[in-house]
Symmetry: C2
Subunit: 409 residues, 2 copies
């Protein structure tokens, strides 16, 4: 297959590009390097020393003889360039990782809110618009997030593969039912853009019969895959800062540098996880199992396991002897939630997940301990707030809690 990987220089995109190139597919990466720019803006860097994309690609060619090409392009602002690329390259599929993906960053200030909206919405829309205009039957595989389901439902109803059967009414004794998109409950501007992406997918599948797969992914953990560990120049990024670091990777980092792990509330919050090497394998599966027809997008829940935050903290503690500090929870969320995620379809494609309990120690020895001298301890705490502080007294119905934007999803 000929594939365009948008965001192929990022945390998920780079190992996926290697994985797909290794399988013999022709890979063209499109990236605007905004992620590297934001690292500079936040004055942080990946714990692992990542190389420039051109160097990564050269190393890959040296090692394997496989060619990965790349184009520097901001897909959210360069529609004509994107369309030209599709018309010239005629890809079979596009894998779309190219969005601003940190919830805390999306809540940081007015300009990061606006950037997240315009980058993610206009970028995704440009891809859809360009596919239609190219008049080619290109399959789009998009990375969404499990976070769009929200974690707030009081009832332990299972989270389906995107669509929910509901009963709407009874007319003349007949039950009126419908299969609806699972009602979204986004918890940040970032998550909201994913629910808006999903509305665009519904529309373009229905109106233009585009074939779209939306992967609602859990929290990705780990750093390296078999392929990326072959050469230091191929090393993947590891984010541990308060904006881009995600919960498990941050726990490992805190344990390594001697910070107590911070668990808000009881730690009974349950989240879905997947290892980075499984991200690559799931995307491979998504590419070979496109929806057979447009009409509505195929939605898969791309996760391997669910864990509570306190269980994760205890697991890290058992491996590192670190301390855990339980802090009051500033979020108004359930103390404890179940997360019963259905992903029968993705699993039916046949893929064996890497589990946290089996691979966490390796992550600690090979990554967090190995590179701990590169860590900037001052970047570990969270600094983004979920709602505005200093609310004026008269806005009495507004949220009371100034919630720290910890990246747990």
């Amino acid at each position: 297959m000929k594939l365009i990987i948008v965001g192929g220089d990022g945390f998920c995109g780079w190992p996926t590009s290697l994985h797909l190139s290794n399988l013999g597919h022709e890979v063209i990466i499109v990236d605007d390097f905004s992620r590297r720019r934001i690292d500079k803006e936040l004055n942080v860097q990946s714990l692992t020393p990542i190389f420039e994309l051109s160097e990564r690609i050269e190393a890959w060619f040296e090692l394997t003889g496989n060619v990965i090409r790349y184009v520097e392009m901001d897909i959210s602002t360069k529609f004509d360039d994107l369309l030209n690329l599709l018309e010239e390259e005629k890809p079979d599929s596009i894998v779309h990782f190219g969005e601003q993906r940190a919830a805390p960053y999306s809540m940081k200030c007015t300009s990061t809110k606006n950037y997240t909206i315009s980058n993610n919405i206009c970028g995704t829309h440009n891809i859809l618009n360009a596919i239609v205009e190219s008049q080619r039957d290109i399959h789009l595989v998009h990375l969404g997030t499990m976070g769009v389901y929200g974690y707030g439902h009081e009832e332990p109803i299972p989270i389906p593969e995107g669509y929910l059967d509901v009963k709407i009414d009874t007319i003349d004794g007949r039950e009126i039912t419908d299969s609806i998109v699972y009602p979204a409950n986004p918890g940040s501007i970032y998550h909201m853009t994913k629910t808006m992406d999903s509305q665009m997918f519904q529309y373009y599948a229905k109106n233009d019969k585009l074939r779209i797969t939306d992967l609602h992914q859990g929290i990705v953990w780990g750093t390296q895959t078999e392929l990326s560990s072959q050469d230091e120049r191929l090393i993947n990024r590891f984010d541990y800062d308060g904006d881009y670091g995600t919960v498990l990777n941050r726990f490992l980092m805190q344990a390594t540098v001697g910070f107590p792990l911070t668990v808000h509330g009881t730690g009974g919050q349950t989240r879905a996880f997947i290892h980075i090497s499984d991200t690559c394998k799931c995307i491979e599966q998504a590419l070979i199992h496109p929806p057979t027809s447009g009409d509505r997008p195929l939605i898969l829940n791309q996760m391997a396991e669910t864990q509570t935050l306190s269980d994760l903290a205890k697991l890290v503690q058992s491996l590192t002897n670190c301390e855990i500090s339980y802090l009051p929870n500033p979020r108004s969320e359930a103390e404890r939630n179940d997360l019963n995620v259905r992903n029968d379809l993705l699993r039916s494609f046949g893929w064996e997940p890497t589990l946290i309990k089996d691979s966490l120690l390796q992550e600690i020895t090979e990554i967090t301990r190995h590179y701990s001298d590169r860590a900037d301890h001052s970047k570990i705490p969270c600094v983004s707030y979920w709602t505005k502080n200093n609310e004026p007294a008269d806005v009495s119905h507004r949220a009371e809690n100034n919630e720290v934007a910890e990246t747990i999803s």
Copy 2:
């Protein structure tokens, strides 16, 4: 009240600004004049000779002594200016008409699709973001459309005021129910932006406790209100072109210049309508009945009556002796649909709608006949297509019909 009216130079915004100014409110119009620019781009003009906003405002001051101020600003790109305006003016409420509102225009070509997305989504988001940042408890009244509900449900379930009670599951014999946002089924890029706006409203109401009223408006017909007919310089716009003209106004125009009215299919399609003077009154009601707390937006169905297209055509025929031509329907839509719209809450505020049957003749004599010499007949047919023509043969599952984008919603 001090009010900012975004899009106050437009078809609905101008008479609403007069209405609210006349009630004694302080009105500041914000408009980027994109609507006037698009008229030039499409080489069309309002049937009625509209004056520049500065002249309109001057005439209003001469007539009434009421001051309406205005600021030229593109709210979708000038966030900082918008925020400054809120901080300086400290409005009580914002009425938001400022979007690209023609479905056919939104489907015309890649650039009008992209423009509709970025103008409407970034504009609406900038308002929400600026309200939060201003730390003021500003009530936002937004104009949405009845079209977001879609007209496709096979079952005659009533359209509620935004939210639908559904049964999701039965757990241990208990019914699990939820009140969800009515599942959207947008029929164009324009309508899709309104469903995406609605997701942003849900989020900002929940997260930041913003008070938001979303008015799901029917198709607006008519031209003048009592206030706008006081002086020719106050005259409102009348669009009849294939992109911006809406169905009833276009029927009147066709009848006046001797075009047969075109009804696609049986004409059994039912739509919701409201007269322009009722738009003004409903917005007045929305402003004095804000939701009492944030949490979720108040959604009102702003419409006065429903009509089938064939009944409307026959009514116009009875007044003008025009011909009606029934053409095959290129849309894959139901031949006939019921539209049972609930708007008890808006009606409970007490407002007497103007009905089509009572006021249509006046519209014909005072507007379409009066200004018929200004009509450019070549602009009456529709030229925007709903899906791409010349689909390549291999995209066999894509839509077969190249559907003409008639503005019926």
